[in-house]
């Protein structure tokens, strides 16, 4: 039993099953992201934890106590909304104080906690401003302070960065993570941005069509995706459809070329599987136990990395190699050796 358990959650809107048998145990202080395209059910899961939606079945337990059936205002959960949702008629300080004041806390204590929270988000001087006088990033920080002021058991972040400019998005996400780690608060973060999810989380849940496709650390999710959806949704990917000729040794046929992966493949002989490879897993003539020959089709110079599109047989590969001053990019049309390690080839059976 974890700190926050979501067990067999089901939710339908009419005939539409938006969350299907959703399960996860989240440890105290853990930062978990729900990642997926819009309509995958991630926000619905969050809203069920908050109490805005009632699950059709399943349990939501904090320290073993089931929350299903209790109202949102009895749950002691903090939430930050995509649209900030600050109360426009209250000042920043009054917004942060809202949860404390409806709980009947004494004025002096409230003032102390508000000051502490404003300090935490670095807006100590702006307590008397109204929300409309703040930038989007500042408003979202206030919303975070407001959610944290009541010392919630769990913090829910519903796409909190989506409405912000790219630059603020990156700084604020770092700040959110720092504050979360400082307070050690259990957090669920909903996002459709894979970079955001990977950079901020302890664990990521990739959701697809109401199901949790894969739950794992960012490293796992990125390097060892278990489904084609996860592999494709998270990062850029080269895929090859191959036919298994020997499951035990992992021998597969890619067109006319035979590849030996030297590890068992969970598919029968003659079965079709997909090999996936990240663009940065290969190099031009570097180390690796597998070398293919490709013809350069396109070269994009992106600064730190160079993105090369090369044709290998009938497949087009996207390769990212680091820029080096002493190694100019290959010419378009030239033939290049492409080296990779068979370990970096992910076998997707599903």
């Amino acid at each position: 039993m974890a700190y926050l358990d979501l067990l067999h959650l089901e939710k339908s809107f009419g005939p539409n099953r938006v969350v299907k048998d959703f399960n996860i145990g989240i440890e105290q202080g853990e930062f978990v992201s729900l990642l997926g395209p819009s309509g995958c059910g991630k926000t619905t899961v969050l809203r069920m934890v908050a109490g805005f939606e009632a699950p059709n079945s399943g349990e939501i337990r904090i320290s073993g106590v089931d929350l299903v059936g209790s109202r949102p205002n009895q749950r002691n959960i903090g939430m930050v909304f995509q649209s900030y949702a600050l109360f426009p008629n209250l000042t920043v300080a009054q917004n942060v104080a809202f949860g404390l004041s409806v709980a009947g806390m004494k004025k002096a204590q409230i003032a102390e906690r508000v000051a502490e929270m404003l300090d935490l988000i670095g807006l100590a001087d702006l307590g008397q401003r109204f929300p409309y006088e703040l930038s989007g990033g500042q408003q979202q920080r206030v919303a975070l302070a407001r959610a944290l002021a009541v010392r919630p058991k769990v913090l829910l972040l519903d796409e909190p960065l989506s409405a912000l400019d790219a630059q603020i998005r990156v700084t604020l996400r770092r700040e959110i993570r720092a504050i979360q780690q400082r307070l050690g608060i259990t957090t669920i973060f909903v996002t459709h941005d894979q970079e955001e999810a990977l950079s901020i989380s302890d664990r990521v849940v990739v959701m697809n069509g109401g199901l949790a496709d894969q739950i794992g650390t960012p490293f796992d999710i990125y390097n060892h995706p278990t489904t084609r959806f996860v592999a494709e949704f998270v990062g850029t990917l080269n895929t090859f459809d191959v036919v298994v000729t020997d499951p035990d040794t992992g021998t597969v046929m890619m067109g006319a070329t035979s590849l030996v992966l030297n590890r068992p493949v969970a598919a029968p002989k003659g079965g079709k599987v997909t090999l996936a490879m990240r663009p940065e897993a290969a190099s031009l003539g570097g180390a690796g136990d597998l070398t293919l020959t490709g013809r350069v089709e396109d070269v994009q110079f992106l600064g730190a990395i160079i993105r090369i599109k090369a044709n290998v047989g009938a497949h087009q590969l996207t390769l990212d190699i680091f820029n080096r001053a002493d190694m100019p990019p290959p010419a378009i049309g030239s033939a290049v050796p492409i080296s990779l390690s068979t370990h970096s080839l992910v076998v997707l059976v599903k």
């Binding site: 109490g51 805005f52 009632a54 109202r71 949102p72």
Partner: protein, 262 residues
């Protein structure tokens, strides 16, 4: 979350009762002219009354004149203020809202004092002048609604681009306003027109004080002299008001499906 629909429904039904019962009452009463049975006698009596016909046509005509003057006044003004004098907008808006604050009876009193036979502009010196004054008074009463409707309509279209395009094609100001701007806000203008009509048709105080043979004073006269006819007239007036509002809805809806939304 649980949804408790009881109180909303209860409130709605109470409101419904309050608003429907007088309508039923007036309708039922209007049918009672013949003793013992429901009949349309009150309606026949009203419709065949020459005074009804005269006063109703008079008010109808005054309404049309007021709409004409109102459109002619409001559309170019609202357009010009938006295009060239945005700084004056608060002032103009304030003036257009004044009729909501100055009671009509006060306005009528002002007219009587200002435009009497011995004044510089003796509107009240002739019947024609008095009619003009009355319709201008109606324009004033409808001004807040008319101006707001047109101004909202103008907000939805890009008047600057339209103006420049028309100018580029060599259009005069009159052509721009009446052949480019007006057609583009015709839904708003029509809304304002129907609202003006609904306000004017039963108007009482100004026409009574200016001593014009309008529908409003006729209604009051009937009210104190007949028993069932007033209800028949009220039913008819309600139907007219309803018709005006329904037409506003229809043209607004219709335009939503065929043109850019307002």
């Amino acid at each position: 979350m649980r949804t408790a629909r009881f109180w909303p429904y209860a409130a709605f039904l109470c409101g419904l009762a309050y608003f429907i019962i007088p309508l039923i009452g007036m309708f039922e009463f209007s049918l009672r002219k013949r003793r013992g049975v429901y009949s349309l006698d009150a309606y026949t009596s009203v419709l065949t009354d020459p005074q009804f016909q005269q006063t109703f046509l008079y008010s109808l005509f005054m309404a049309l004149v007021a709409i004409f003057i109102g459109v002619l006044l409001v559309v170019p003004t609202a357009y010009w203020v938006r295009l060239r004098l945005p700084k004056l907008r608060p002032v103009v808006e304030f003036v257009t809202l004044l009729p909501l604050v100055i009671p009509p009876v006060v306005l009528a009193f002002g007219y009587i004092r200002l435009f009497n036979t011995s004044s510089v502009v003796p509107f009240l010196g002739s019947e024609f002048g008095t009619n003009i004054l009355l319709s201008c008074g109606y324009v004033v009463l409808a001004l807040p609604y008319m101006y707001r409707a047109v101004d909202t309509g103008l907000r939805a279209i890009d008047i600057l681009t339209l103006t420049e395009a028309a100018q580029g094609l060599g259009a005069s100001w009159a052509a721009i306003i009446f052949r480019v701007i007006l057609p583009n806000v015709r839904v708003a203008v029509a809304s304002g027109a129907f609202l003006t009509f609904a306000i004017v048709i039963g108007e009482y105080v100004i026409s009574a004080l200016l001593d014009r043979p309008a529908f409003g004073p006729y209604l009051v006269w009937i009210g104190s002299n007949k028993a069932y006819e007033p209800s028949a007239l009220a039913v008819m007036t309600f139907a007219i008001t309803w018709g005006c509002m329904a037409l506003i809805q229809v043209i607004t809806q219709f335009s939503k499906h065929t043109r850019t939304p307002l």
